[in-house]
């Protein structure tokens, strides 16, 4: 136990927590922005096509961004250290597209600003798994338990307010379907953090994990798209019909990945019980995009506005309370015990596990560091070419939107990107 306590100093622990918290807020901004393209569903594009194209954007981003930041050689190094995590990554990847497709059905049935907070129950699910499977909040003290459980209760109240608002605005049949879809998406995404946390406790770099994750993701989404489109030929025909908006959906996937990467770092450095609620501030960003850019609540009664805004703020306050209950030294020791349990179970080098926990894997990697290879640049160029090609044939969707607000929100997201990127690089070299 003493050896574990000494493994990460108090100062380093505080630094990593600051990094994790900032990444959580950055994730919120980018994940919220990524949901905006799903508004295209209103143009008559089938939900599974929207989801497939977002996943294609995610796939491109999840191979090109790690190649650009660290090089594929580093991904291979991680794979050799903990090969079992490939299975976990693919399994997590299978969960994501099912959840994403459900959210698109939910948006169609109950709207973005209402569906969004409902699927954010994923944080409650994440807290549950964090406590029961990974020793999170163990030996954390009564104050932290109160903050987390109180925050969870606030989030539940906020979700109920929003569900009530949805039931008063749409036909009951659609409300039940939309709410069920959003809640199940939350359960899927909350459970998806089980493989994530397992990977990060074991020491794997988030950029490596998401690269394998995306294989399961793309395969599952392709199967879903074929099944729900009525076969390959129908799918190809529908893709052809949607070619002028392909770019926006790919872009949505790309933006989502940036948020997701920050979310992974948050989960790694502050745990899933705190990292997920923090990144769920995407609810507020989604609300801002929905109201200010797409005028979602325009023309509705003041009572509904108050209900939706009040519910969202209540949920966000709950998330904030959870996030601000910092990890104590004793709790971190319990994390390390869980990490060493994983290391023993899968025969992973303890040096690898420990360096990953302390965000210093780059020290180990530097011994075998390889410069970026031609393959890395090839991946980056190929992904860029696809985006340029899609941009060339796209047109601005015929959706009523306030582009000034869109530019302002985009600029704020870029500020988060710069801040999180710099802090991650300085503290961990993207470890």
């Amino acid at each position: 136990m003493d050896q574990l306590t000494r493994a990460v100093s108090v100062g380093r622990l505080r630094q990593l927590q600051s990094v994790g918290i900032l990444c959580g807020f950055g994730a919120g901004a980018w994940l919220g922005a990524a949901e905006a393209p799903t508004k295209l569903v209103t143009l008559g594009i089938p939900p599974v096509i929207v989801s497939l194209l977002m996943v294609a954007g995610v796939f491109l981003a999840r191979w090109s961004v790690p190649a650009l930041i660290r090089g594929t050689g580093q991904v291979g190094w991680d794979l050799r250290q903990a090969p079992h995590l490939v299975i976990w990554a693919v399994l997590a990847g299978c969960l994501w597209p099912v959840a994403n497709t459900l959210t698109i059905f939910a948006i169609r049935d109950v709207g973005l600003s209402i569906a969004f907070p409902l699927w954010n129950i994923n944080s409650l699910i994440g807290i549950f798994w964090g406590i029961t499977l990974f020793n999170e909040l163990h030996h954390a003290g009564a104050r932290r338990w109160f903050a987390v459980l109180g925050g969870a209760a606030l989030m539940f109240v906020g979700a109920c307010l929003l569900a009530y608002a949805s039931a008063t605005q749409i036909t009951p049949a659609h409300a039940v379907r939309g709410v069920a879809a959003a809640l199940m998406a939350g359960v899927l995404w909350g459970t998806m953090y089980v493989p994530y946390r397992k990977a990060y406790l074991t020491g794997m770099n988030p950029l490596s994990f998401v690269a394998f994750f995306t294989i399961g993701e793309l395969l599952t989404m392709a199967l879903l798209a074929v099944a729900y489109s009525g076969g390959w030929e129908a799918l190809v025909w529908q893709l052809g019909q949607s070619r002028t908006v392909l770019f926006w959906l790919l872009l949505g996937g790309f933006v989502w990945v940036i948020g997701d990467v920050f979310q992974q770092y948050a989960a790694k450095y502050v745990g899933i019980s705190r990292g997920i609620p923090l990144s769920n501030t995407n609810q507020l960003w989604g609300l801002a995009w929905g109201i200010f850019v797409f005028g979602e609540l325009h023309g509705r009664g003041a009572g509904l506005h108050l209900l939706v805004i009040g519910g969202s703020i209540t949920m966000a306050a709950g998330a904030g309370a959870i996030a601000l209950s910092s990890v104590s030294g004793q709790e971190h020791v319990r994390w390390q015990e869980a990490a060493h349990r994983e290391g023993r179970r899968y025969s992973v080098s303890m040096d690898y596990v420990q360096s990953g926990l302390s965000g210093e894997a780059f020290v180990l990697q530097s011994k075998t560091m390889q410069p970026r290879r031609k393959l890395d640049w090839l991946i980056v160029c190929a992904a860029t070419a696809v985006f340029v090609w899609m941009a060339a044939i796209c047109r601005v969707p015929d959706v009523r939107a306030n582009w000034t607000s869109a530019l302002l929100l985009s600029a704020l997201s870029l500020v988060f990107l710069m801040a999180c990127g710099m802090v991650l690089w300085r503290a961990t070299r993207f470890s």
Binding site: I87, A92, C94, W129, M184, L188, M192, V194, R345, Y346
Partner: protein, 77 residues
């Protein structure tokens, strides 16, 4: 965790027992890091890895939730 008496990982030993039970001869000189292993040992390592994943109770939680999600998707679509 390496076994104190043999210095081998539990997962590797478990895998060896599995192979012996099928009547195969296995040389018990396993490097748990998996580096530079002959083909037979690489196979053992791979089997032990898969076995460890399948015996990890955590693994089945996302699997069950995945099927629940597919069921809901089927219902609403």
């Amino acid at each position: 965790m390496p076994d104190k008496s043999t210095g081998r990982s539990r997962a590797a030993i478990h895998s060896c027992k599995m192979l012996r039970s099928r009547g195969r001869l296995v040389v018990l000189s396993i490097n748990s890091t998996g580096a530079h292993l002959p083909d037979d040992h690489a196979e053992i390592h791979q089997r032990s890895m898969l076995s460890a994943v399948l015996h990890d109770s955590h693994f089945w939680i996302p699997v069950v939730v995945l099927f629940m999600g597919l069921a809901v998707l089927h219902w609403i679509s």
